[in-house]
Each structure stands twice: as C-alpha cells, then as structure tokens.
C-alpha cells in the first residue's frame, strides 16, 4: 500500500520521501543463475500490485492510462479555458464516439445496393435505438468537421503553429483532410438520392485533374458512374483505411504535443512571462476539467440526436438528379466556386493552393515572440476584425456581381473556357488580393505576421461566405434566392 502511494506521488511529481534506490532494470544476478525466472518475468509483465480498496484500485488504473496521454504536471496557465476552448480534446472525444457508434452501425448494415438503403430504413423503424445510434454518428461526424476547423483556427490565431510545433501543425492538416474524407465516404453509405448525387458531383471533380484524373476517378468509383462498386469501395475506405490512418496520426499528434513541451503558454498582449511557469498536477486539475467538458458535450450530442434526425431521402435513382443537386455542406464552398470558375480552377487549382497554403503557414512567419497571444497583439486583433468585415463585404459583392454583371465567356468569346472562365478570373482575384496585401503593408504599416494574419482571415471568411451562399442562398438551377423565399426542391 505504502509502495503504491510512493509510486503515485513520484508520478505526480511530488518529492517522494526517502525514495529507496531504484531497482536496476537488469538484475545484478545473472539470468542463468536466477532460480525464479518465471516469477520475475510475471512480475515485470503484470501491473503493480493493486491497492486493497475499490476506489484506490479504479483510480490507479485510470491514472496510469491518462498519464500516458498527458504529462504528470502542466503549466497552470494552459488550463485557462478561453485559450484552448478544449477543442483538441473534444475532437478526440468525437472520434471516440464515431468509432463506437460506427462499430454498432456496421452490424446492421450491408454495403450493397439497394440493401444499404433498406438497412437504413430498418435501422429507423425496426432496430431498437437504431435511429438514435445513426443520429449520434451523423451529428458527431458533422460536428467533428466544425470542431477540427475551430481547433485549427485557435492554433493559428494564438501563433501555436510556429516552430517548434510546425510538425504537429502538419499532422493536424493531414488529419483535417482525413476527417473530410471520412465524412465524404460516409455520406454515400445510406444510398439515398442525397448521397448518390452529392457523391456523383463530388467525385466528378476528380476527373478534372490533369492526366491522372480520368483513371483515378474510375478507380475510385469502380466504373464510369457511381454504382454498387463505388458503395463497396467507399465503405471499405470508411471503416478501415481512414480510421486506421487517423488513429496513427492521432497518436503522433498527442505524442508531439508532449515532445514540443506541452501547449503554448497563453498570455495577454504585452504581458511578459516569468522564468518558470507555475505548474499543477494533471490529476485532478486537467483531468477533472476534461471529464466535465466531455460529459457536457456527450449529453448535448445525445439530446440533440434524440430530437433531430439525420436526413434521409428516397432511394438512389441514377436517372433523376434532384434540383438543386448539392454536394455535402462542407464542400459547398468548392461547389460555389464551380459556378464562378472553370472546373479545373475551382476544383483543382484553388483547393490545391489552399492546402499548400495551410502546409506552408508555419514557415511564413517564424517570429515566435507573439506565441500565446490571441491575434498576435491588440493591433493584430483589429486587423483581423477589419479583414473579416472586408472579406464579408467583398466576397458577397463578388458572388452577386458574378451572377448578374460579370460575363467572362461573353466578353472573351473566342477564348477557350479554361482561359476566359478560369485563368482570367483567377488572375483578377489574385490581383485584388495582391492590392489588399500591398495596402496593408504600406498604409497600415503591417509587418510580416500581420500581413499573413490579414490574408488568412480574408480567405477563411471568403470560404465561409461561399459555403453559406451554397447552403442557404442557392436554389433550383443553382440560382440565387433569399433563404426565406427559397422555392421547394424538385
């Protein structure tokens, strides 16, 4: 008993009273002459002897497992609620929910057409709590995208993506892409009209990749169109490859957090950090907060899923596209771009540039003096706010202008559409961005990190606006409508 407490105290970082010299890993006695080799092996393989009371026993197991993910002690500052918002942990918890509910959904699902759709109908009507499990899975998956993006924003806005944490940022970007892939492949599985046409539109984007697009699309779909083979391909990716890759990256991500010295230290603008930050033990300070946070979210998700059902439309009909046919909501920003640019530019060039930008972000400004301060400084906060407002205005104006005024293909009638509807508008947008950047540099006297901040916020808000337009303002024929005057889909 005493030994256990000493061991715990040691883990938690307290000074153990008169700790006996540690037994060497390799015994001094040579192995050959050991008369109890089996007992010794057993001792090493088994966990330490347990405390006698139940509470202590449960606590020990929990403590050691959690201490695998967290350091024993953490700087007290990083507990500040308004710094992390608990987003990374929440993303991890959502993945846990998704794996758990996903395994249960698997035993009531057949990845063939049309059985897949009938299974979902069964899930809703005949299986006890089938609808609830499906709803929890669906809403957690959608929430995961939001949470992952917010987590990315938090890290960028507090400068925590900069060295030495740049590698972990890259793992994070890779995981974001995997989360999108997981959502996209899962979207097809109900095999309803919504799924079928969203995946048709989404996978057609692949065919615009130069050279490899056509064969890659065929490989992905298992044929010229979305069909039974596509369903099996996506199912396999969804339940094996993507979760496995995600699990590996999550492990690396958590490991890097510890290796990079824990979270970046939050501070207010102008506040200097003392030499050694005050530390507190992970248990109970961090673990208790995480537990409460997780329980609140779990309750919210379950409650939401009880009352709001995941959408399900009629069975997939390859001969009839619904009007409007929309991609999943998280790709509607890209679909909106398709209305304004040649598909190669909208679906390949711009997303490619965006991902490249995210990858390069930790290397654009490596000045680490503002790490831990929201928006770099008080000035940075104003610049970010200004950029967001400007982007909101300019992007909405551009969407409206492109709908009613701008006619690139009419103005440049004899040009191939990749130029008149692709390169030329892209160059125009690029020029506007360049002008804005120059303006921030010269008029606002912005330094490197403020210019990066300005551009990042501008482009991110532009993506938000495009996504919102795609979700709420596009109706039949993909024409613009006010959300309150939206005609019914057919």
């Amino acid at each position: 008993m005493h030994k256990i407490f000493m061991r715990l105290a040691y883990i938690l970082g307290e000074n153990p009273p008169d700790r006996a010299p540690r037994r060497s890993r390799c015994s001094n006695v040579p192995l050959m002459s050991d008369d109890r080799p089996l007992e010794r092996m057993k001792e090493r393989l088994s966990p330490p002897p347990l405390p006698t009371d139940d509470r202590g026993r449960a606590r020990l197991v929990l403590d050691t497992l959690i201490l695998h993910l967290h350091p024993a002690r953490i700087p007290k500052r990083t507990l500040r609620w308004t710094y992390t918002w608990g987003l990374g942990g929440l993303a991890g918890m959502l993945i846990g929910i998704l794996v758990t509910t996903g395994i249960f959904l698997e035993v009531r699902y057949t990845p063939t057409a049309p059985d897949a759709y009938l299974d979902i109908l069964n899930l809703r009507s005949d299986v006890w709590f089938g609808d609830l499990l499906r709803n929890i899975h669906h809403w957690s998956a959608n929430l995961l995208i939001v949470v992952a993006v917010l987590h990315l924003l938090r890290v960028f806005f507090t400068g925590a993506h900069r060295p030495p944490r740049e590698v972990n940022w890259l793992f994070g970007v890779a995981m974001l892409l995997l989360v999108l892939a997981a959502n996209f492949t899962g979207y097809l599985l109900p095999w309803d009209q919504l799924a079928f046409w969203a995946i048709t539109v989404g996978t057609s984007l692949v065919s615009y990749l130069p050279l490899i697009g056509e064969p890659l699309g065929r490989l992905l779909l298992g044929g010229p169109e979305v069909g039974p083979t596509t369903l099996l391909n996506f199912y396999t990716l969804h339940i094996s490859f993507i979760p496995l890759a995600l699990f590996g990256l999550m492990s690396l991500h958590f490991w890097r957090v510890r290796k990079d010295g824990g979270l970046s230290l939050p501070r207010r603008a102008g506040e200097a950090l003392e030499g050694t930050p005050e530390r507190v033990t992970t248990i109970p300070h961090l673990v208790r907060r995480e537990g409460i946070y997780a329980l609140v979210w779990l309750a919210a998700i379950v409650l939401f899923s009880i009352f709001v059902s995941a959408p399900l439309e009629g069975i997939a009909d390859p001969g009839l596209s619904p009007n409007p046919a929309k991609a999943p909501w998280y790709f509607l920003g890209i679909q909106e771009l398709l209305l304004h640019f040649h598909p190669f530019v909208a679906a390949v060039v711009i997303p490619g540039l965006a991902v490249t930008g995210l990858v390069l972000l930790p290397f654009t400004d490596v000045d680490t003096s503002s790490v831990g301060i929201w928006f770099r400084s008080a000035r940075g906060r104003s610049i970010a706010l200004f950029s967001a407002g400007l982007s909101l205005l300019l992007t909405s104006a551009w969407v409206a202008a492109d709908e009613f005024v701008i006619r690139w293909t009419d103005w440049l009638p004899n040009w191939p559409s990749i130029l008149s509807n692709g390169v030329v508008p892209l160059a125009a947008v690029g020029l506007v961005l360049l002008a804005l950047d120059t303006w921030v540099r010269d008029r606002l006297d912005g330094n490197a990190e403020e210019r990066v901040l300005f551009l990042f916020v501008f482009l991110f808000v532009a993506l938000l606006v495009l996504t919102a337009v795609g979700i709420w303002f596009r109706g039949p024929g993909m024409e613009l409508f006010w959300p309150w005057a939206m005609p019914a889909a057919t």
Binding site: G222, G223, E225, G319, P324, H342, P343, S417, I418
Partner: protein, 169 residues
C-alpha cells in the same frame, strides 16, 4: 562506410566493394519489389469492365416510335434518342459533361437543362450555356431491321456537334 566496415573489407582500388555491391543489390531488389506489389494492388483494384453494365447493346425501339423533331429518354439505357426533323438519329449519354448529373430534357424550353449547375445543351448536345466544358457524349447508334440499337458500352467524347455524327435510317 562505417569504421567497422572499412576494417572488415578495405575499399578495392577500382570497382565496388562487396559491402557496397550488396547494399546496392538490396536497394534495387527492394525497389523492384515495391513496384511489383504496387502494380499487383493497382491491377487488383481496377474496376471490372463496365461493358454491358447498363445493358451493353440496348434496343431503343422501332424507327417509327421516334417522331421527327423529338427527344426521347431511354431510362434503362441512360441516354436520349434525338430524332431531327430531317429524320436523322443521335444517341446522347444523359451524364452532364460538367459534373456528372443526369440531365433532363425540358420539353417546353426545347433544351437540356442540368439541375446541378445550370448547364444547357441543345437537342444535338451542343453547349448553349456553360459551365459544361464540352457537348454531351454520344453512344454509337445503329439501325437494323427498323430497330434502333444503341451501344452503351463506351461513351464517345467530342468537341462539337458534327452532321457526320447523325445516323439515317
């Protein structure tokens, strides 16, 4: 080369040492094995041929079923048969060349209007309104014994409508 290696076999005056040769051999074999495994898996994942998936050769109907100046949807073949006023036939794949939606024929407007991104095509498949980058794909159409037969095995991509594409009975 490690110190140990140098001690073991000194570098010969010319040619490659045994150690270096073995390293190169291993590396080459490893690369070959990787390519092989990659090739095997890629071949394994190739879609089984889709020929005949939606019927292969589809009988669309008798010549007289299609009045001149009409567009008829053959649903199970996933294509349209256009019969021009001069009696010529054309089989158009229903898949929009923009993003793959099924394009419905709008009888009152007299054109195909894609519900996904508002691309428009005329009855010969020509693009009337972008964003579609090229006309609707064709299927090979033949007329035997008054039957209109359409081979749905392979869509034929084209840059523009050409009168040579029209088949006459």
């Amino acid at each position: 080369m490690t110190e140990h290696g140098q001690a073991m076999d000194s570098e010969p005056a010319e040619g490659v040492s045994r150690r270096r040769f073995l390293t190169m051999a291993w590396t080459t074999l490893g690369a070959v094995a990787t390519v092989e495994v990659g090739g095997v898996l890629l071949a394994y994942l190739q879609p089984r041929l889709a020929e005949g998936e939606f019927g292969g050769l589809v009988a669309a109907g008798l010549v007289d079923d299609f009045p001149p100046g009409s567009v008829t949807h053959i649903i199970n073949g996933r294509f349209y048969v256009t019969r021009f006023p001069d009696g010529g036939f054309l089989a158009l794949y229903q898949k929009c060349t923009h993003l793959g939606c099924a394009v419905p024929w709008d009888q009152t407007a007299g054109k195909f209007i894609c519900p996904c991104h508002n691309s428009e095509f005329d009855d010969s498949g020509n693009v009337l309104n972008p964003p579609a980058p090229r006309p609707l794909d064709l299927f090979a159409l033949s007329i035997t014994d008054g039957q209109v037969m359409v081979d749905t095995g392979k869509p034929i991509a084209r840059d523009a409508f050409d009168p040579g594409q029209v088949v006459y009975p």
